[in-house]
């Protein structure tokens, strides 16, 4: 495994722990005021003003549970700003946790139901000690084809 990819920025969405490689993460934004976009694809929760740059926010709640996330529902709600294919996106998450070094973690395919629903966005299931972590494939989060849950 590529050592640069062994570190994951982890966050929780709907009670489960997910992670994206830190190499993709440019920053974490606590809160963030969203401008909703009529007619937008369902995975888009709105636009964010990131210090003068307008970036699209992706609703991970919707992608992972099929339910709309409540943006700003808690004080801990945050946006993880990631870069994929030269464009920056904000991933709306419930709470941001630590960066986990997954070196020596056990790799397994993600549980069946999750895998079937989102074959593209889910990477693998990592077991690092007590922590269970599902990795997400950043490139697949920002594509327009919708998977209807």
């Amino acid at each position: 495994m590529n050592p640069a990819r062994s570190q994951y920025c982890t966050f929780s969405v709907a009670g489960d722990l997910y992670g994206v490689p830190v190499s993709h993460v440019s920053e974490v934004l606590l809160g963030g005021e969203l401008t909703p976009i009529p007619l937008a694809p369902p995975r888009v929760s709105g636009l964010l003003n990131l210090r003068g740059e307008v970036i699209t926010a992706v609703d991970l709640h919707w992608l992972l549970t099929g339910q709309r996330g409540q943006s700003g529902a808690t004080d801990e709600a945050a946006h993880v700003v990631v870069e994929a294919d030269g464009e920056r996106f904000a991933l709306a998450v419930d709470r941001v946790h630590d960066v986990i070094d997954a070196k020596g973690a056990q790799h397994a395919p993600p549980p069946g139901p999750v895998r079937q629903k989102f074959p593209d966005i889910v990477g693998e299931l990592l077991t690092c000690g007590d922590t269970l972590l599902t990795t997400l494939r950043v490139e697949a989060l920002a594509v327009t084809e919708e998977i209807v849950p």
């Binding site: 009529p38 937008a40 636009l47 970036i55 699209t56």
Partner: protein
Amino acid sequence: MSEDFDDEIVAEFVTESGELLDQLDATLVALEQNGGDDELVAAAFRTLHTIKGNAGFLGFEPVQRLAHAGENLLSRIRDRVLQLDEPRATALLATLDQLRAMLDEVESSGAVQGSSDTELVRTLAELTSGATLPGGSVQPNLSGASAGVIVDRSGSESAAMVDREASADAAAVDGQALPVAGTPDKPAPPSGATTRESAEAFPSAPGARRGSPQPPGRHPPRSAGGGTTALRVDVGLLDELMGQVGELVLTRNEILERTKHVSDRGLTNTVQRLDRVATRLQEGVMRTRMQPVANMWAKFPRIVRDLGHTCGKKVRITFAGEETGLDKALIEALRDPMTHLLRNAVDHGIERPDARVAAGKSATGTIHLSARQQSGRVIIEFSDDGGGIDLDRVRQRAVDKGLLTSAAADALDRQASLELLFSPGFSTAESVSQVSGRGVGMDVVKTNIERVGGKLEVETELGAGSTFRISVPLTVAIVPSLIARVDRHQFVVPQAALDEIVALSATDERCIELSGKSVLRLRGEVVASVDMRTVLELEGDPPRERHALVLQGNGSRYALVVDAIEDTAEIVIKPLGRLLEQIPIYAGSTLLPNGGVALILDPLVVAQRHDLLSTVAEKATKADDTVAACRDAFATLRFPGAHRLAVPLSSLHRVEEFHSPKIERIGDRPVIQYRDHIMPLVDFDGHRLVPAAYHDGEEAPDRISVAVLCDQDRQIGALVEDVEDVAEVERRHAGRFDVLGGSVTRVWSAQELAVELAPYHLDEAERSAA
């Protein structure tokens, strides 16, 4: 005029050749260092060949001869008969230096003297024939020769310049100086062919210089310090800078907004300084993107010449205002539409020589292009002295094509008939020629011009020719916009397409359903409309009071109904990310002065997708209706003392409010300054206009409403209490009263109004005295 064009071509040649030479420098140095790469040698050969060809074409024989000598040597190297050894590389680089000196001479004097290059040509010939020269002896001789060439003709100052050049070029030989041209992150394209393309993709340096506020003369091409006065800069970098400056301006606006009520003097001063600097910076960066329209026109004489030959017509083209500057993006956007208009003018506009002579005109037709800047816009006019547009034929054509019935066609007025030209699929050419008349075109031309916020108008006179008038904003980088709200969403609508804003009440009689479609009745005109809540698929109840944005596009007027108008703003367009760019009705996003994000609507796309644009047939009948209705559309002005006056809507320019107005006098007539003009102020006494009753020393009220009336481009301000209504009036007699809105109202036709306004016009002397 044609002389100027020769200059233009020569300037292009100098610029392009300069670029080619810069690339050759690098190529030769690379070749010398890395040995024979066949591709590179072939590319170098082609490049020199291009310069030779162009020089030959323009008659710069010494350049041609020298380039030829260099090319000969390179061809032997390419064919592997000779090696590119150090003396040969040195001689070739010296050739480049000498060519540069010649180009400088061409640039400053328009010509190059002959016979000065023989020594270098001889050297090259010797090297080509295989004779070896001692490596050290070549260079000094050569640089001596190149400097000496200039001293002979242009005096010591030029010689000093060339010496500096020579030393700069010596650095290039060492491989330390790199070409400035081209994008910094991409290597210069090696082949001659790509080079030509890249030369076109960048603003030509002489052109860019001409676009600067103080166009420097043709002399001197170099600054006194020895450096170049013009730099070629990657356009992408300029775009990036422009974007950043746009951001800065928006940030400035935000700071101005937030500090409006702050009483900290130090802060206020700082903010004012920031304001000034940001404004100047914005103007400066905008100027760097300005190019003279001549850049767009440079190829036109050639097109006219070739097309004229193809069509068997004699055509000359003349130009005026070529130095008028226009944003680079607009130049690019207008290039194709302009070329299309030019082709049309030659193909359809100008008659054959025999027909022209028979009509008593000169056998040679003239196409005249002019550009000028006028109140923040650039007006480009395109006139020909050809046969003009036969409107009967246009209408017949439209009927033949099934675009409308012959009854509808007969009802069309002049303007509406001309509009037919811009209908999709319309072409008046009797036969489809290879030049134009493929039935694609004028509608696309118009759409492309409108897309950049421009307008296209036509005037024509049968037998005398046609004029196409294009008007575009100076820049597209910062877009004046309107911020509208629908539900809780803010949207930005560019003002360019906006015709008017109509306030609607909950039960507005003007909103009606017509065969399942919403329409808005405006002064007798029927305007297709759509509720933005429907467009955006929003639920919930709209507010009682709403607004309709009446917009213009593709020759139609249409209305978008929004919940509220929030503000106006100047915005910078930001691209939407890839998740949202698929939504066609959004043209981008922007940041608002309050830091929020708003989407930019593309109103034309909304109109297209919701079927708001009129078909040709609808336009025909509608135009007819509109003419009938407009003839009788009057605006009722209410004056102090309950006097009411109805004037034709077309004469009412707008209603302005002046806060703490400064009313001045010319003679005994009160005037006010309005948009850099002096506007006389009048009142209405129930029968006629009288000078507004302000006496010396009398204080004007805090706020006055002025109806700006127009007559022959002059503006007269009428002090009104209110503009009550816009209504249709049945006119029976001239100069009589009518009952409008339940009150007796004096109604004036345009002619009557003109008679009444005439005494209030300021004459030239008064205007200049003021």
